[in-house]
């Protein structure tokens, strides 16, 4: 079974600054995906970024980038130029790569990020 751990229950950052959210995971799988989801007060789960484990290059989506360290089983999210709209819960999630089974997500407990003006 996989486990995902987010060790920072809450974080805050000043608007326009950079913040990094931590995530570690435990798995015996070699092929998998890692995700960061954002959940604003509206409760909608929004996919922020996805990383395939077989890719060495870190995924980037505009102001969001990841630092994927496969050997260390670490997957941190960096938010650059933080904006007030980034205030939300952020969830790290793991998904085993298996074409023949349901690709279920295993989630961490979340980090609540507050962006301050």
């Amino acid at each position: 079974a996989q486990t995902v751990t987010q060790s920072q229950p809450e974080m805050s950052v000043q608007e326009a600054e950079t913040v990094t959210l931590s995530c570690t995971y435990d798995t015996s799988e070699n092929n998998y995906y890692l995700f960061w989801y954002k959940q604003p007060p509206s409760r909608q789960m929004i996919l922020v970024i996805r990383q395939e484990a077989y890719k060495q290059q870190n995924a980037t989506e505009n102001r969001f980038s990841v630092n994927f360290q496969k050997a260390a089983k670490s997957f941190s999210l960096k938010i650059s130029d933080s904006q007030l709209g980034d205030t939300a819960m952020y969830f790290c999630a793991f998904m085993k790569h298996d074409n023949n089974a349901g690709n279920m997500l295993t989630f961490g407990g979340g980090t609540r990020l507050m962006v301050k003006p």
Binding site: V4, F35, Y37, S42, R43, Q44, M45, L47, R50, F91, A93, M95, A101, G102, N103, M104, L105, T106, F107, G108, G109, G110
Partner: protein, 108 residues
């Protein structure tokens, strides 16, 4: 959101009553999922479906059943609701796991 809707969006019910939540998708995804979200636990998988009439249990399936008679609909049923099933329920679909807007269920 990939065309995923959930109904109802909010429901209050009493202990012991049956409850059915509906997830509807318009993208013809093969896989659909039901998660529940509770404070401190993130989201946890209840059941999932890999095709019409094909379903399997997730991490927290006790007290829940599901059905999928059509590709576009995935139903979650609480046969006899308990207070521990008060939660926010999310449906997801597709290989990229697009999520629906969630259903807040309160069991009194």
């Amino acid at each position: 959101d990939a065309g995923i809707t959930q109904s109802p969006r909010h429901k209050v019910t009493e202990t012991g009553t049956p409850v059915t939540l509906r997830c509807h998708q318009t993208e013809n995804h093969r896989y659909m999922y039901w998660y529940r979200q509770d404070p401190g636990h993130g989201l946890r998988l209840i059941h999932y479906s890999y095709g019409v009439k094909d379903t399997d249990k997730g991490e927290v399936s006790d007290g829940y059943s599901v059905s999928r008679s059509k590709t576009e609909d995935f139903l979650l049923t609480l046969e006899s609701a308990t207070s521990s099933q008060t939660s926010v329920y999310f449906c997801a679909a597709g290989p990229k796991q697009f999520f629906g807007p969630g259903t807040r269920l309160t069991v009194l």
